[in-house]
């Protein structure tokens, strides 16, 4: 059994609707799970996607539940973290994607236009945490000699951002409905 978690903040959909009864259903289950669709889901938070976001990290799910709610969680009205256990092979019509592998398979070759950034090593801190490390993210790239070109922030591709954010959030994406039988617990947190 592989164990995953998913947070649900107070008064959000999966807070008011018990996934232990319905299972987790993606908002747009008919959409094809392409790599562009996956990257948009991770990077831009695209709402109508065929994916259900899961995480391997209880801490990531806890943060989402406690801080991405519509009210503060309290003992009388807690947020929830769902525990999900999925067998190998998974239930029929359910696929689990590791976004790192899925994106990596579709990266350009080393001779194609790069997905890599061209900034300082610390640029990556700004990708992981664009609010807390905004200066690292927006610091101008260092120009190779002879210099003199227009100043700009380093290149940040959707591919790189998706890879970094998926790693940060220990993210796994489910395609299809996660049956209620896979949801083994719903922890109240506040």
């Amino acid at each position: 059994m592989a164990v995953f978690y998913r947070g649900a903040g107070v008064n959000t959909y999966w807070h008011n609707n018990d996934a232990r009864i319905s299972g987790f259903i993606p908002l747009s289950s008919g959409t094809t799970a392409t790599v562009n669709c996956l990257m948009d889901h991770i990077v831009y938070g695209t709402v109508s996607s065929p994916f259900v976001s899961l995480t391997r990290s209880y801490g990531v799910a806890w943060d989402y539940a406690v801080n991405a709610g519509r009210q503060r969680p309290t003992p009388n009205n807690p947020a929830y973290v769902y525990r999900i256990e999925i067998s190998n092979p998974p239930p029929i019509n359910l696929t689990l994607l590791d976004p790192i592998k899925f994106v990596a398979q579709n990266l350009p070759s080393a001779l194609d236009p790069p997905y890599q950034h061209d900034g300082m090593p610390s640029f990556l801190l700004g990708v992981v945490d664009p609010i807390g490390n905004v200066k690292h993210r927006s610091a101008p790239y260092t120009q190779p000699p002879p210099g003199g070109g227009a100043s700009r922030p380093p290149n940040l591709t959707t591919e790189l951002e998706a890879l970094v954010k998926a790693l940060r959030d220990a993210e796994i994406l489910a395609v299809g409905t996660i049956p209620a039988s896979c949801i083994t617990a719903r922890y109240p947190i506040y």
């Binding site: 903040g9 008064n11 959000t12 990077v43 831009y44 938070g45 709402v47 943060d63 989402y64 406690v66 801080n67 991405a68 709610g69 519509r70 009210q71 503060r72 969680p73 309290t74 003992p75 610390s122 945490d129 664009p130 609010i131 807390g132 490390n133 905004v134 200066k135 690292h136 610091a139 954010k165 506040y190």
Partner: protein
């Protein structure tokens, strides 16, 4: 219990407002970094009981409003609120 820090949005000039919507305050974790904030607002003169969830990294609200104009307004406002919260919370050094 989780501890929150409140940030007043009412008097901040860079935080937009519309005829219908005024943002009041944001709540973020008091003692660690999170990409998320709860943004409280007044709509048509009445304080809403549910906050809007702001993903500060993605600079989007995770929630939607049924009124088309209000929805468009909060979409446009999200990046500016995220930037303001970032400037209040995490003034950082490049060094």
């Amino acid at each position: 219990m989780a501890q929150y820090r409140e940030i007043n949005l009412k008097k901040e000039k860079t935080v937009p407002s519309s005829a219908s919507i005024q943002f009041v305050k944001a709540e973020v974790p008091a003692d660690y970094r999170s990409p998320f904030a709860m943004v409280w607002y007044v709509r048509k003169g009445k304080e809403e009981k549910d906050a809007l969830r702001l993903d500060m990294d993605k600079r989007i609200f995770l929630d939607h409003l049924d009124d088309k104009e209000d929805e468009e307004f909060i979409r446009r406002s999200a990046p500016e609120i995220a930037s303001y919260l970032g400037s209040v919370l995490y003034a950082t050094d490049v060094s």
